[in-house]
């Protein structure tokens, strides 16, 4: 009995030390997970966690979550999938399986893949609430028993076709789903239907652009009064077809983070984009060089 008592005390003490060492700080944090070629951004504020994309593999995103989400918190309040390319989506199935995910939102840039089939199944099994977002939406995220709120504005895409997002429902017949995915894929560059989010936190503007490129940027420059941003998630891994000079001149990011894989075959980030970023005086951080990047907000 005595011995058992020691074990229990030891375990409880161990538990307390682990809890204290993993308590989140008072400020919000943006974690750009090093997932290789792909995107996965975790934003944490107190008990509230938002994951934007899940990278190309379950292993990398889970290891990032292990490091930055306290072990006792198994809830992710919101997942935003900016587009259904595998390098943004494939890691999410495992996250949905292992964490209690409350909401999942995306836009209509959907196309068919084995990874999508898997994610649809996992979302349904785990009863995650799926929604469509479009320009003008405001997303307020707050943990159930927490006070910490994160507020996002959706800047892009306009006029999301909700029917396309319905493919995430497992009630849909597979024939109908294939038709919709086929129709969606015919619309040209689906990267331009990526979800673009703006986060205002503690007077800091963060712009998260997914895979959006010059067309979306051009539209935003013409129709929006874009603020100067503190942190820019550089569009489409630093592709030359994103981060136009015109766009950068307006938002003038202080820090530009690029999520990109070492020695990737796409040539990301391109020298053109890096030049344009340095012209506006942005400090560039890259996951292929710096590993996982953590920024206090």
């Amino acid at each position: 009995m005595k011995k058992r008592g020691y074990y229990l005390v030891g375990m409880v003490v161990g538990l307390c030390i682990m809890v204290v060492s993993q308590l989140p700080g008072t400020h919000a944090k943006m974690v750009m997970c090093d997932v290789g070629q792909g995107d996965a951004i975790l934003i944490i504020k107190g008990k509230t966690q938002v994951l934007i994309d899940g990278g190309p593999s379950s292993e990398k995103i889970l290891s990032c979550l292990e490091q930055y989400v306290p072990f006792y918190d198994r809830t992710i309040e919101l997942i935003v999938l900016t587009n259904t390319d595998f390098d943004h989506m494939n890691g999410l199935s495992a996250v949905v399986d292992r964490y209690q995910v409350i909401h999942f939102v995306t836009a209509d840039g959907v196309h068919s893949s084995a990874g999508l089939d898997k994610l649809i199944k996992k979302l349904a099994i785990n009863k995650v609430i799926v929604g469509a977002v479009e320009r003008g939406d405001r997303i307020v995220v707050q943990a159930k028993q927490g006070l910490d709120k994160l507020e996002f504005s959706v800047l892009w895409p306009p006029d999301t076709i909700e029917q396309y997002v319905l493919v995430f429902s497992d009630q849909m017949q597979s024939v109908e789903r294939e038709q919709i995915l086929g129709a969606s894929a015919k619309r040209g560059d689906l990267n331009e239907r990526s979800v673009v989010l703006q986060l205002l936190e503690d007077n800091k503007y963060v712009l998260l652009t997914g895979d959006a490129g010059d067309q979306a940027e051009k539209w935003l420059v013409a129709h929006d009064s874009l603020p100067m941003v503190d942190i820019l998630k550089v569009g489409h891994h630093g592709s030359k077809y994103a981060s136009t000079q015109e766009f950068l001149e307006i938002i003038r990011p202080e820090i530009a983070v690029i999520s990109v894989g070492e020695k990737n075959t796409y040539g990301h980030p391109t020298t053109e984009t890096l030049d344009r970023l340095s012209k506006v005086g942005a400090t560039v951080k890259r996951t292929d060089q710096d590993g996982t990047i953590v920024l206090e907000l």
């Binding site: 538990l15 030390i17 292990e66 989400v69 072990f71």
Partner: protein, 373 residues
């Protein structure tokens, strides 16, 4: 003289069995011929990020993309195969990019249905660990408790290999032997010998069931329990004999087992407990320690140590290197393995609270392995 005769008889019987062993591949098989394999799937496949992986007997089949297969389905796989040949026999058949055809569900015999049910349970248990613990703690506890190594982060798996601790998840035989030995050792001090043996067997049965009752686990369970019972009944010579007899019978029943890492580890671990265990005890008693410390060591550390030393050559043979840090790391983590097993089993019942209590211990083990690996 009699021993030699028995050995000779065994070796010649084994030789005959080995020679007439049928190949899983058709006799006219060539490098690029398409092979078909039909089986009833008992357990849900593993899903990697881009593949669906089915393991069935000596077959390892990979399908591109996400293909759900409900346990109990009768399916036919077709594709080009790469057989792995050891000592002139096909031990494993790898079929990549297989094409699958479904043949409906089978009604299934009672054993099939039990296996399917255990598969469901095991999946639910692994899921419970994955939902309550982060990685790599989740896959570590799943590996130690259930021998599941799928979905373990590659860098952590490599760290286990580097530190020579892969056996904690690779071989259920090792776990069965250690758990039974520790359980019996502890129980012997509290209750009568009969009850202790009962408890040990009970522990093994529970373990075999939750580990999915695959052939390899059942095998380890039978061997471990037979020999340990004999040992704790105070007949160590009988126990040693029983170990070799049961190993021999299993080999005659299924000769390919000789090449199976799990089998080798089971035999080595049990042999270690039976042959080395008592010697370590004698050695340490001459060093002179208080009886309390000695009793803890005797019940907990010695069985672990004995099994580790005995399995070392097997690990060296299969996993290449045993680095100089391996004994240190093993010494640092092995004493907590039975504790992790017990507590991980507790997570299946106790859920999140139990997971929180287990987390610091798993975190310690992960920390040690990452530090040295």
């Amino acid at each position: 003289m009699q021993k030699l005769k028995i050995w000779l008889v065994f070796i010649s019987l084994f030789g005959v069995r080995w020679y007439f062993l049928p190949s899983p591949l058709p006799s006219d098989w060539e490098n690029d011929s398409v092979v078909a394999y039909t089986a009833t799937i008992l357990e849900e496949p593993e899903y990697s990020d881009s593949k669906t992986i089915v393991r069935s007997g000596s077959w390892y089949i990979a399908l591109d993309g996400y293909t759900p297969i409900i346990p109990g389905s009768r399916v036919r796989f077709e594709g080009i195969v790469e057989p792995q040949i050891q000592l002139g026999k096909v031990t494993r058949v790898v079929m990549k990019n297989a094409i699958i055809k479904f043949h409906g569900r089978t009604r299934g015999s009672a054993p099939t249905n039990i296996m399917i049910m255990l598969g469901h349970w095991r999946k639910a248990w692994v899921g419970q660990l994955q939902r309550t613990l982060p990685e790599p703690m989740a896959s570590l506890s799943g590996g130690i408790l259930l021998g599941v190594k799928a979905q373990m982060p590659r860098d952590f798996y490599q760290a286990l290999v580097n530190t020579g601790t892969l056996h904690v998840i690779a071989a259920s035989g090792f776990n069965v032997s250690v758990v039974a030995a520790v359980l019996m050792g502890v129980l012997m001090r509290v209750v009568s010998r009969g009850w202790a043996i009962g408890g040990g067997i009970g522990g093994i049965v529970v373990y075999v069931l939750i580990a999915g009752a695959s052939a390899s686990v059942i095998r380890a369970g039978i061997m471990g329990s037979l020999t340990l019972i004999a040992y704790y009944l105070g007949r160590p010579t009988e126990a040693r004999r029983l170990l070799w007899v049961s190993a021999g019978i299993m080999l005659l029943a299924s000769p390919l087992m000789l090449l199976d890492v799990g089998f080798q580890l089971s035999v080595a671990a049990t042999a270690g407990l039976l042959y080395l265990g008592p010697r370590i005890k004698i050695l340490s008693s001459s060093v002179g320690m208080t009886t309390y410390v000695q009793s803890i060591l005797a019940n907990y550390l010695y069985p672990t140590l004995a099994a580790t030393i005995a399995t070392l050559p097997v690990i060296l043979w299969h996993f290449g290197t045993v680095s100089w840090i391996s004994p240190i790391v093993n010494l640092l983590v092995l004493p907590i393995i039975p504790l992790i097993m017990g507590m991980s089993a507790g997570i299946l019942v106790g859920g999140r609270v139990m997971a929180w209590l287990t987390y610091p211990i798993l975190a310690y083990m992960v920390w040690v392995i990452r530090l040295f690996g």
